[in-house]
Symmetry: C2
Subunit: 283 residues, 2 copies
């Protein structure tokens, strides 16, 4: 959750206290957090404790945020404040805090105004709002489509898929499917390659005519066995031999049909999705 | 998709060409894009055409990126480049481009180093990587849990839920559930309030003992009717009267049990999720 402390190994009384980090925003704080995290990872030896202060849209709320920040200044570690506040008045109130503020918007807006030859709004704008209803509805439809077509649930509308993820069970199809739908409005179906599918080199019937939209997911036998053991401990299904066989057969199938693949063993859903999107953009 | 042009009304030959925007990153480009978008929304009258150039981890790849950017400099509009590149060598190659570069990491890293009294890595770090396997696995489990407990699918493990979303059909439970699971590792179940549930003021049996974990979603009768009409046109289910009745009854139920609510009619899943997370953080 947003306020979770960053994982930092076992608690240890000799460790210095974590640095409190505040993401202050007019809206959700998602952008401020994304920006802040890209910087904080550059300090792997420092422990951080993250807090979001979202929906700061009035002077009164900004003053309350300043109180929180000034209170944090009395703690053992100086806090960090990341903000994307664009409204000059709200931003001015925030700057009255004694806490150091890393302001992502105002520090770059001037440069952008010069390059674009256009004046910025300097007002709160909903970056993660609904904005374009049609676009938003399509995104929600992509999520519904993903759920309906998860794990071969419904084979009816594969034709509508932008991409069809193929993989043996538990290689990471579902979370990647959901991420692509939710964050990128991509219509993603996924099809589980069961052992019967893998006995032949042919593509399974439901996806045979849709080869160009297929994308394979592979992993290592060790990782697959580990994940499967959580679900069905000590089963044939989870055995390293079975995992090795399924992955080998899947790889042969993908290669035979020139289906691009991504390996999920050391990649997050964000990274896999980026690889898939890059491929779609080129196709 | 990443390279989609921003919606900007009907195509019009008299409109100036869009400004090409490049998000250049060592990893997925998600942070650079989040940061860039928070700035670009400040220029609602300018059309942008977004492109991601991810996974730039070598000097050779950085040079290729520079070629793309320099080619864009020959176009009708000067391009914008947003980057989070932390590696000093890669960053140096990128700066050899003639395109203006808005560098989110290096422009703030010095300030952070001073505040933290610690030297930054100045190396590529995977912000959206797997990093902590245990933490990542929990996130994937949250996605699985969300799918298994979507729309009252399985009532078995409601006890494990961090939050249970309650709402009449089509109020936006599912996408919000998926977002909370995928982005925040929250275990979310959702329970659809069917008309029979709404005939009484009592909470439905499966969630009765879990009141403190419930969160209600409401919307406007007009929006609900619109969404339902897409699924079942001209049905009683989609009629404005039925929608009004269900929402009214749900509201009465939520109020009677002091269940917090959020209105989905004008809020995105990100905004609803932020409201729910704020509530969880306080609870």
């Amino acid at each position: 959750m947003a306020a979770d402390p960053v994982p930092s190994g076992a608690a240890d009384a000799t460790l210095p206290p974590p640095v409190p980090v505040y993401f202050v925003a007019e809206q959700t704080g998602i952008s401020a957090e994304a920006m802040g995290n890209a910087l904080l990872v550059q300090f792997p030896d420092v422990r951080f404790e993250r807090h979001r202060i979202p929906f700061i849209t009035s002077i009164a709320e900004a003053r309350k945020a300043v109180e929180i920040l000034d209170a944090a200044m009395k703690g053992p570690r100086q806090p960090l404040v990341f903000t994307t506040i664009a409204d000059d008045t709200i931003s001015g109130v925030l700057r009255s805090s004694r806490a150091p503020i890393i302001d992502f918007v105002s520090s770059h807006l001037g440069q952008l105004e010069r390059i674009l030859g256009s004046r910025a709004l300097h007002l709160a704008v909903r970056v993660h709002g609904v904005q374009d209803q049609e676009r938003y509805d399509r995104r929600m439809q992509a999520v519904e489509y993903a759920i309906e077509h998860d794990d071969g649930e419904s084979l009816r509308h594969y034709d509508d898929a932008d991409v069809i993820l193929l993989a043996p069970s538990r290689c990471g199809k579902t979370p990647t499917t959901m991420y692509l739908a939710l964050q990128h409005s991509v219509f993603v179906a996924n099809y589980p390659l069961v052992p019967e599918d893998l006995e032949t080199i042919d593509l399974p019937d439901p996806v045979r005519k849709l080869r160009t939209r297929c994308f394979g997911i592979l992993t290592t036998p060790e990782r697959l066995s580990e994940v499967r053991n959580e679900r069905r401990p000590d089963s044939v299904y989870a055995s390293i031999e079975q995992c090795r066989w399924e992955l080998k057969r899947a790889e042969i199938m993908f290669r035979a049909h020139r289906i691009p693949t991504v390996n999920s063993s050391a990649k997050s859903v964000e990274e896999m999705s980026t690889v898939i999107l890059q491929h779609l953009a080129k196709a």
